[in-house]
Symmetry: C2
Subunit: 209 residues, 2 copies
Amino acid sequence: MSKNDSTKSKILDAAEQLFAERGFAETSLRTITARAKVNLASVNYHFGSKKSLIQDVFDRFLSDYSHELGQELNALEANVGNQLDTEVLLKALVRPLISIEAKREKSISIFMRLLGRAYAETQGHLRRYVTEKYGYVLVRFTLLFQKAYPTLSNDQIFWRLHYTLGSLIFTLAGSDALREIAAADFDRQMQIEDVIDEIIPFLAAGMKA
Amino acid sequence: MSKNDSTKSKILDAAEQLFAERGFAETSLRTITARAKVNLASVNYHFGSKKSLIQDVFDRFLSDYSHELGQELNALEANVGNQLDTEVLLKALVRPLISIEAKREKSISIFMRLLGRAYAETQGHLRRYVTEKYGYVLVRFTLLFQKAYPTLSNDQIFWRLHYTLGSLIFTLAGSDALREIAAADFDRQMQIEDVIDEIIPFLAAGMKA
DNA sequence: TGTACATCAGTGAACGCGCGTTCACTGATGTAC
DNA sequence: TGTACATCAGTGAACGCGCGTTCACTGATGTAC
């Protein structure tokens, strides 16, 4: 049996879709296993609990994403002295997303929705888990920004980075709906890559303000 | 009995806090009524259902906010010909928030969290309700933007407005935590008004990019 | 190669629990005559 | 002013339902000798 249609993978696939669509609490294991066409008890067999399933869904995305972002950052760190401006840095942040989307359709908006939901979780166990396990990539990214803009204070960079993340997550999480509206109201068909291309100048201008 | 400590108000106060903290599904009526110190059955007596309670929580914020934003827009529309630039428009969007915060502490971040959660709701009944009932204020705002920047196409304005909203909602919803981090890491104490003051130039630069 | 046992993936049915909602009821206040 | 009834705000206890989880079990595959 190939890795992608094992019971475990089928559960992960169904779960990430449903969590992104409806949220964690609003998605029952019965809904997940029905969509995945597997037995209800197999979730607890493979993942132990619903909580662990949620973490594993994040892990699959984040290990992919942070691995690719790590490579982007390696390349940037190697070329110190080169033009290290905002657009280049933002593109490094965003390129791994496009690469994920290439492997699996809709995965950018699923990923961004999940991030938004993790962020909204105030019990915070998920947010803590994510920042503890993957926060270091964001730290590396921040350091590059500080190197690129030595005139900006560290706390300015901190805040502007969060403005940027908010804009990105919010826009990309809702991009399916927004693109539909744009197509209907302005007769403009866009791919998600087009949305990303358009948001970068906006964010870059803000970062440099 | 004054309006603010009636059973109905006590339920609304407790509910908006808990919904913002934990989300709608994660907050039970038992938790709400325990915090409000009222009887469990009184929620269904006053609001009919949990769903209606959620809508009423939104209504209280949105009727306040959209009323005040309406007045800001009246003032701007009256002074056509004046400087109608981005900063002025963004400040009009943001001033009603500050006025809400003045009446009730923490209300900006509660309101923004609720908006974020409504936005994440994909069943969408709440999002539909909000846009149907209060969408026209956003339309007026968009029209002013189009007047201010006739060179930008309508769909560019549409997208940039959403980048801006994403940034604002995301940042202000999490501003308590972000301000704590800023205070700890950069030794910088900020009020929520300071956060708003700082984000406006960022967003204005993006809008004009 | 054959036998005995262990491990693994998966299953059907049941468990107790917390949930939103309902219901019959109480007591205070308002209204009609 | 007094009486009868209606309306309103609130309550305690129970309802059925869907939830995550558990448990005893099956059958297939792997391992030891």
